[in-house]
Symmetry: C2
Subunit: 207 residues, 2 copies
């Protein structure tokens, strides 16, 4: 049996660079990323099973009923959720899996699966965050202000996370994240198999 992979939830302020970070971790180190299910209709260019698993509302509600989600939520009339099947089959085959989800979903995951580690990505300062949001050039000033107000609220979530990482320099942050993700294999929660096998081993030795 291969050592099980770890599950890490990645969240953070809008503009913290989570998306780029996760893409690079996948590209450079081969992490798997969970794919969400949603009842929102596909946009142009989106493919089933790539960006999302597209579900009807009935299908989604049925999946909720059958406890097939790690977490789910409703936003503006659409459901979004992380299906268990994909994530669990990945970790059982020894693959580490990243879940990029927002904060309320993250806390839902932690509550249901306490062994999962929560990682929070933050820019080094608000000034830097505002700069990044403006540089994207795609957002109006009032949207930017709204996001910063939201970030202030989101601050209260930071200390619910297990780890906080500053994304100042992208390359440095990718290397730090990879180091952190690898070290998650050594947490007590991810070493249960080992603890059990060592302790059984010791005990049988005494017989």
């Amino acid at each position: 049996m291969p050592k099980k992979g770890i599950i890490a939830v990645i969240s953070g302020f809008s503009g913290a660079g989570k998306g780029t970070l996760v893409n690079e971790l996948v590209k450079r180190y081969g992490y798997a990323v969970s794919i969400s299910a949603t009842t929102r209709p596909p946009r142009a260019g989106e493919t089933e099973g790539k960006e999302y698993f597209f579900k009807t509302k009935e299908e989604f509600l049925q999946m909720i009923k059958e406890e097939k989600f790690i977490e789910y939520a409703k936003y503006v009339n659409n459901y979004y959720g992380t299906p268990k099947d994909y994530v669990f089959s990945q970790i059982n085959s020894g693959q580490d899996v990243l879940l990029e989800i927002e904060m309320q979903g993250a806390l839902q995951v932690k509550k249901n699966f306490p062994d999962v580690s929560l990682i929070f990505i933050t820019p080094p300062s608000t000034a830097e965050l505002k700069k990044r949001l403006i540089n994207r050039g795609t957002e109006a000033a009032d949207i930017i202000d709204k996001r910063i107000s939201r970030a202030v609220e989101e601050c209260s979530y930071m200390d619910k996370y297990d780890y906080i990482i500053v994304n100042d320099d992208l390359d440095k942050c990718i290397i730090q994240m990879h180091g952190l993700l690898q070290s998650l294999h050594f947490t007590k929660n991810n070493q249960k198999q080992l603890i059990e096998s060592i302790c059984n081993n010791f005990s049988s030795f005494l017989l």
Copy 2:
């Protein structure tokens, strides 16, 4: 103000290779190691402030009274303890500090200083442990059996630790330990300064 260093407690089964591991971490990566105080008389070749800080029983009891220890214990008529001063001055200057202490001391540290991380080192199996103890060539068979019996008892401590690392291949283990120790900088407990500064920063931005 430099970012504070982290404190990591390292324990594990006798014969797990803790001593070599800690020495190599110090030599290769510059970690500081805390020096214990003891009332045991110096042995030939031991120097004050290198192997131990040597104290009279009166001095030691006075230090206990003044809460100058992170943890202390009495073994066979002698006291042993980890003085606060050295460890705290090191982490305040940004230096990471390793404490190699036994399990009851480790739990004492965790109780008094919950931000400290506990790391448990284990050989991959009992068979391997017994082989290592025999290969040392310095121990009689009954001592080896006694150590293994003790290891069985110590098993119950494993899941009190935050991280468990197998020392199978020394070089691999040193690299894994260094990765783990560096990632401890990102734990919520070691990021309190950052969380506070980010959240104050965001809030002041809104004024």
